[in-house]
């Protein structure tokens, strides 16, 4: 088991109003699954993603990630877990501007303390794997949306994480580029990587092997399915 959430709650207090963003969530994710977490805005799926991604700590309950209880770690330790175990892909790509694709992909390795020479080699390999071997030195502003997201995916997998956590990865892309990106995720998945994607688009959820529906901070449904094969554009 890679992810084990046990009765996780997240409570926000705004003045005298108490908001239960997560209300007793329990589920597990095995290694090698492709999970889509679905829900409308305000359902608590973003909070769930933040907790799974070790960006936020649960108010109560336990979260065991790759055999380690991460619900009590401090900021520095969480950063270490994010660096080693998780690769992030965001809706808005979140690449550093005016920084080459190669340097963007190197970033997790910098904080992992990988020597410069290795760093460049591994970043180059990751970019080649997402099909951007020719654009190592392009800045984000010189790349299309799809290409930028592929740089972000290269960055997410460069440190050989155990899971890729994607937050609305196709939200800023047109449908054809979305297919490309989803094909890339499926390729990574078939190579054994666990993928967790948060989305509100049913089309995107179809690519996953399991769909978890979230509503009002609770799990509404949890179903396994046969994923649709993405057709990458030639």
């Amino acid at each position: 088991m890679l992810i084990e959430l046990e009765d996780v709650t997240k409570i926000y207090t705004l003045g005298d109003q108490v908001l239960r963003a997560l209300d007793g969530v329990t589920f597990g994710v095995e290694r090698g699954e492709f999970v889509a977490i679905m829900g409308s805005s305000g359902s608590g799926k973003s909070t769930l993603m933040n907790v799974i991604g070790c960006l936020d700590k649960p108010s109560s309950g336990s979260y065991v990630l790759s055999g380690r209880d991460v619900s009590k770690l401090d900021r520095g330790e969480l950063a270490e877990v994010r660096n080693e175990v998780i690769g992030f892909v965001f809706q808005s790509f979140n690449l550093l501007t005016r920084t080459s694709a190669l340097e963007n992909v190197e970033l997790p390795l910098v904080y992992a303390g990988v020597p410069r020479h290795d760093r460049i080699e591994r970043a180059r390999a990751a970019l080649e794997r997402v099909g951007l071997g020719e654009r190592l030195h392009h800045h984000p502003s010189q790349l299309s949306g799809g290409q930028q997201q592929r740089v972000a995916i290269a960055r997410a997998m460069v440190n050989s994480p155990q899971m890729i956590l994607a937050d609305e990865p196709t939200g800023n892309l047109d449908s054809r580029t979305s297919d490309d990106v989803m094909a890339l995720f499926q390729a990574l998945w078939s190579s054994g990587l666990t993928i967790v994607a948060v989305t509100h688009e049913p089309d995107i959820a179809e690519y996953a092997s399991r769909v978890i529906q979230v509503k009002d901070g609770k799990i509404l449904s949890d179903q396994r399915q046969t994923p649709r094969r993405a057709e990458p554009a030639a």
Partner: protein, 409 residues
């Protein structure tokens, strides 16, 4: 990842906003440049005062006769000769802290050599005078004790006089100068001595044996000395002792009872020099303090721009945190940026300050004194300013919540 690795990241971030970085640094540049140049000016002034006092002579006391008083009108110091030639001998023999004593009788006279003439100060003295004042002969020789005994018509001349009477580059030794129609033989030219602390040219003077002065120039032989005594103490520590010894000796010789004022005056030039020295030190510290304030203002400028930078780069901070930057990584990154800015400003400021100090020294005719310790301290201090004023923005950056930072627009 260590702090050194953040250096290229920091310099790249700074180079991205070249104009902004330059303007931010300018505060520190100006601060450090003013510290360097102000201290250089202060030190220059100090060394000039020092030179002036060294030129007067070291461990020097001047003994003067008292003043006349007639019906309540005082004639001023030296107007009534009270020092006798016997007093001089007594000081020479009975004051152990005294190294040498020499009389100096002065007047202003017109000097004529061939077809040139020059009006200057004529001093009657002994060879000891030049020893006390640390003033050697550069060319030719000093007149001797036998010249004094024989009232010889010889003189040694200052540089300025030599230049005016004979022209620069011509050796005046062996030539003749007439004073009051009496021919004097030039025996030596004194080394260049420069200016007194009040700007008087020491080199614009000639000296003859005091006996010749009395018999041929002015006054005739008298019991009292119509001039002053120059006293050299054995060492600078001995100077105050020499002063008390001379005072006691003269009071005794002049039969002054307790409660009666001295009928002479002793001036200690070392004291005056020290007071001057303290004055210039205060001046230097004051200038440096003002300059240091502008350095602080420069630091505030850095803090300001670092705060702006943290806000602008909130999203970048979020991304870095998401991919594994620990809070101290972010802290180090921004701190290194601030320190890079301020140290670069410090180094540029040292260069600018030296140029400014050089230009000023050139204009004022002062020596350029750049103290290496001040240079090192300025650069270190500017680094410290970077740390002090960079810490708050850097801490603010490192404490950002990654979720909020990622969502920041």
């Amino acid at each position: 990842m260590n702090v050194l690795q953040t250096l290229p990241v920091a310099s790249r971030a700074l180079l991205r906003n070249k104009t902004r970085s330059f303007l931010t640094t300018l505060g520190v540049v100006i601060g450090v440049a003013s510290v360097i140049s102000m201290v250089a000016i202060g030190e220059g002034a100090k060394s000039q005062v020092e030179d002036a006092f060294n030129a007067m002579g070291t461990n020097l006391l001047i003994v003067m006769s008292g003043s006349t008083s007639s019906g309540g009108v005082f004639g001023g110091m030296g107007s009534m000769p009270t020092l006798s030639w016997d007093d001089l001998d007594a000081i020479k023999q009975e004051a152990p802290a005294v190294r040498a004593v020499a009389p100096l009788l002065t007047t202003k006279l017109s000097l004529i050599a061939d077809d040139a003439n020059w009006n200057t100060q004529v001093g009657g003295t002994t060879p000891d005078y030049f020893e006390i004042r640390n003033w050697p002969v550069e060319r030719g020789s000093m007149f001797t004790e036998s010249d004094i005994e024989g009232n010889s018509k010889v003189l040694v001349i200052g540089h300025t006089v030599a230049d005016h009477l004979f022209g620069a580059g011509i050796d005046p030794v062996g030539r003749t100068i007439r004073m009051q129609s009496i021919p004097f033989l030039v025996q030596g030219v004194l080394a260049k001595k420069g200016q007194s602390p009040v700007g008087q040219d020491y080199d614009d003077a000639v000296y003859i044996p005091y006996t010749t002065f009395q018999t041929k120039i002015k006054g005739g032989l008298q019991k009292y000395i119509a001039g002053v005594l120059f006293v050299g103490a054995k060492s600078s520590d001995d100077t105050p002792r020499a002063q008390t010894e001379i005072q006691a000796l003269l009071r005794d010789r002049h039969h002054l009872d307790n409660g009666v004022d001295d009928d002479f005056q002793i001036r200690n030039l070392t004291e005056i020099a020290n007071a001057q020295q303290e004055g210039t030190n205060t001046f230097t510290s004051l200038l440096a303090a003002i300059a240091a304030v502008s350095l602080l203002v420069g630091g505030i400028g850095i803090m300001n721009i670092m705060l702006v930078s943290v806000t602008e780069r909130t999203r970048e901070i979020g991304v870095r945190m998401a991919v594994g930057a620990k809070p101290w990584h972010i802290l180090a990154q921004f701190l290194v940026e601030a320190v890079t800015l301020s140290v670069a400003g410090g180094v540029a400021g040292v260069a600018l300050g030296m140029v400014a100090a050089g230009a000023l020294a050139d204009k004022l005719g002062w020596p350029l004194v750049v103290r290496p310790d001040i240079v090192v301290v300025s650069v270190l201090f500017s680094g410290l300013v970077g740390v002090a004023f960079g810490l708050y923005p850097a801490r603010k950056a490192s404490r950002l919540d990654p979720i909020d930072a990622l969502r920041y627009e």
